[in-house]
C-alpha cells in the first residue's frame, strides 16, 4: 500500500537499529511512548527486540479508554439502564469494567447500547428515534474531539432535542506535564502522539524541553517511523540537546490544524479532569460550554450512581503513569485477561496490558527460525 510500505521496510528498520545501537552508548535510556497506538505498534512489530537492552520503552497515559475514570463508566452504565435512552459508543468502551458491571453486561440484560463508527452514526440514530434520548460517549483526545464538537454544532443547526454527549474528553499535554511534575519517573525522552499532533501541532510540546530539558519527537505509527523517532531522541540525549522534533511531517504541521481547534473551542472549554491512575489534573479535560449545555448529558439527564470502587489489586493506575509494567501485576494473565478484564488497560485494543498479553506474553528472548 503506497505511503505505508516504505515505512514498513525491513532494510530501513535494520539500518536504524544499528545506528541507534552505536549512538546510545552504555547508559540506561528511558523513553515514553505517550500514545496507545504507539504502544500497540511497538508490540505488533516486535520493535523492542530490535533495540539495544539499555533502551527502555515505557507506555504512557495515551489510551483514551484506559484513562477514563471508573466513575464515568459507572455513569454510562447507569444511563444505559434508563429505558428511554439509547447509548451510542465506539466499540472499545463496551467491555471496560466499571465498579460493578460493564456496558457489555448491560447489553446482554437488554440495555440499548449501539456501537457506532462515528458521531455521524450517532446523530442518525438520534434523528431516527426522536422519542428517545440518544447519548454519545465522548471519550478521546484532541484527535477525536473535533468530530464530537461538529456533531453538537450539527445537532444545534438542525434543532435536535434528543442528542446528548457525555464528555470525558481529555488533553494530552497537561497529562505529560503531570507525569513530569509527579517526579516518580525519570523520563529521558517522549515519543509524542502523531494523531493528536495533527490537531495540536508540535508547538504544544515546547514547554517540555524548555522547562524540563526533556526532548520530544512527534512520530508516525509505522515501525520505521517509530525507529526514526527513537534514533532522533537518542541523538538528542547523547548530545545534550532538548528540543521538539517532528518525524511525522507527512501528517503533522507545526501549527497543527487551527480550524479543528476552532471547532473544539467553540463547543468545549478546558476543565479539570479525572484520569484513572493519575487523579485530577487541572485544565486537562474539556467540558461543554454554557451555550451548548443543552447537549450535555450530565446537565440534562438525571442519574444516580453509587460511589465508584476499583479492584484493589488492579495496578492500571501505576501502569498508566509508567511506574509499573504489566508483568508486575498479580492479576495479569491469570485473573485479568482480554476475555475477563479486571482493568481498563486489558480491555482496550490500545491498552498496555492488552499489548503485552496479545503480543508479548511469555515471549522467549530468541525464538528459533
Amino acid at each position: 500500500m503506497k505511503y505505508l510500505d516504505e515505512f514498513r521496510n525491513k532494510a530501513a528498520a535494520k539500518r536504524l537499529a544499528s545506528r541507534i545501537s552505536s549512538e546510545v552508548g552504555e547508559g540506561e535510556v528511558t523513553l515514553m511512548e505517550v500514545c496507545g497506538t504507539h504502544t500497540m505498534a511497538v508490540h505488533r512489530y516486535g520493535i523492542k527486540g530490535l533495540l539495544p537492552p539499555n533502551i527502555r520503552l515505557l507506555s504512557g497515559p495515551g489510551c483514551p479508554v484506559c484513562v477514563t475514570s471508573n466513575r464515568y463508566i459507572d455513569k454510562a452504565i447507569a444511563y444505559s439502564k434508563q429505558s428511554d435512552v439509547i447509548l451510542t459508543t465506539f466499540g472499545d468502551m463496551v467491555k471496560v469494567p466499571g465498579s460493578r458491571s460493564s456496558l457489555a453486561r448491560e447489553m446482554s440484560r437488554g440495555a440499548d447500547v449501539r456501537i457506532v463508527y462515528s458521531t455521524t452514526d450517532a446523530l442518525k440514530i438520534a434523528r431516527d428515534n426522536t422519542e428517545r434520548k440518544v447519548i454519545f460517549l465522548g471519550v478521546g483526545f484532541e484527535t477525536t474531539v473535533p468530530t464530537v464538537a461538529t456533531s453538537i454544532l450539527e445537532a444545534d443547526r438542525m434543532g435536535m432535542k434528543n442528542y446528548f454527549v457525555l464528555s470525558a474528553h481529555k488533553l494530552i499535554p497537561p497529562a505529560m506535564k503531570a507525569l513530569l511534575d509527579g517526579g516518580e519517573l525519570k523520563i529521558d525522552g517522549f515519543i509524542c502522539p502523531g494523531h493528536v499532533s495533527t490537531i495540536t501541532g508540535t508547538q504544544v510540546y515546547e514547554f517540555i524541553p524548555r522547562n524540563y530539558r526533556v526532548p520530544c519527537v512527534v512520530a508516525g505509527f509505522e515501525p520505521v517511523d517509530i525507529m526514526q523517532a527513537i534514533y532522533t531522541l537518542v541523538q538528542q540525549i547523547t548530545r545534550g540537546i532538548a528540543e521538539v522534533a517532528n518525524q511525522y511531517r507527512r501528517a503533522v504541521r507545526k501549527e497543527g490544524n487551527p480550524k479543528a481547534r476552532e471547532v473544539i473551542y467553540e463547543v468545549f472549554e478546558p476543565s479539570d479532569s479525572d484520569w484513572r491512575g493519575i487523579g485530577v489534573i487541572p485544565q486537562s479535560g474539556l467540558m461543554i460550554r454554557q451555550r451548548y449545555r443543552k447537549y450535555d448529558a450530565e446537565a440534562n439527564i438525571d442519574v444516580e450512581i453509587e460511589p465508584s470502587a476499583e479492584n484493589p489489586r488492579c495496578i492500571c493506575g501505576a501502569i498508566l503513569r509508567g511506574v509499573k509494567e504489566p508483568l508486575e501485576c498479580t492479576l495479569f494473565g491469570s485473573l485479568c485477561t482480554p476475555e475477563h478484564p479486571k482493568g481498563a488497560c486489558m480491555v482496550s485494543s490500545e491498552g498496555t496490558c492488552a499489548a503485552y498479553y496479545n503480543y508479548g506474553r511469555q515471549m522467549p528472548k530468541k525464538p528459533e527460525g
Binding site: K10, Y45, Y117, M363
Partner: protein, 336 residues
Amino acid sequence: MKGDEKILLSHGSGGKLTHDLIRKFFLQRFLNPILLELTDSALVDGAPKLAFTTDSYVVKPLFFPGGDIGKLAVAGTVNDLAVMGAEPKYISCGFIIEEGHDMEPLCRIVDSMRRTAEAAGVLIVTGDTKVVGKDEADQLFINTSGIGFVDEGVRLSVNRVRVGDRIILSGSVGDHGIAVLSQRGGFEFEVNVKSDCAPLNGLISKVLAASDKVKFMRDPTRGGLATALNEIVGGREFGILIEEEKIPVKEGVRAVCELLGLDPLYLANEGKVVVVVASEDADQVLEAMRQDRLGKDAEIIGTVVEEPKGMVCLKTVISGTRIVDMLVADQLPRIC
C-alpha cells in the same frame, strides 16, 4: 412456484404446500436418483472409512460479494470433509426459514447450492424444511452435513506433525471477513473485495496427489489463520513460526484493516487451506497448489519449530518477533 411468492407457515406444516415445495422446488433443483426416492433416509454407497461432518450457516447478510449463504453451506461442508483427506460424496441440507421470506431470494440461494454441489462433485441426497414464525429466526438458516470417502493410504493427523515441517497457505487471507463486513449496516464506504467462498476438494486432491508426506490440513474459517494455527499447536510439544511478509493479503483487505484497526490474521476465510507438509516435499506441494486456480497465490508461510511450545509466533515485516494468539472475542473497531 413463482418468484413473487412468500414462504408461509404452512410450507412447513407437512401438508400439501410442503409437498409442493419439496417436489416442485427442491427436488427439481437438486435432482439425482438417490434424492428422487424421497424416502425417510437416503441409501448411499459406503467405503471402509468415512468422514462425517456437520455445520450450520447463519451468515448475515444472505448475499455478499462473491457468494451467498447457499454457496457457503455447500462449500463449507465440502471443505470440512476435504481437509480430512476425504473425497466429499453426499450432502444433506436442512432449511429453517422465517415465515414471510420471499421465494425469489430463496430460489437464488438454492440454485447457488446446486451449482456449488455440481462444481464440487457432491450429491445433495436428503433434506428437511421447517418454517418458523415471523421474528423466530432471522430470514434463513441452513444446516448441511456431509459424508466423504477416505482412501486407505490417507492418514492426516496433528500427531504426525514434526519440528521442521513447513506450513503452506493456499492464498490471501481475510477476503470473506471483509466482504461480509462491508455489506453490514454502518459502513458508508465501498470496498472492492469478494468473498473467497469456494469448494476446495479439487485443490486438496492435487495436494494429496503431490505428496504422501502431507501431515495435516485445516481450513482457516471463523477466527482466521491465527486461530487455525493456534488450534494446531495447542498443548503440543512444538510451536509454529510464520513470516508476516509471506502471508498474502489483498490490497482492499489491508486498506479496510488499516482503517478499522482489524488484523487480517483473525478474519474469516471460506476458500483457503493451511497445509502442514514435510519440508522435503514442501516445494512440490506448493507447485501443485499453484497449478490450481484456487491455489495460484499459495505461499510457504512458516515452519514448525521446537520452541516456544504450544505457541504461534510471527516474524514481523521489520524482522521483530511477536506471538499470535487465539481470537478472544469479535474484533471491535477502535476509537482512534
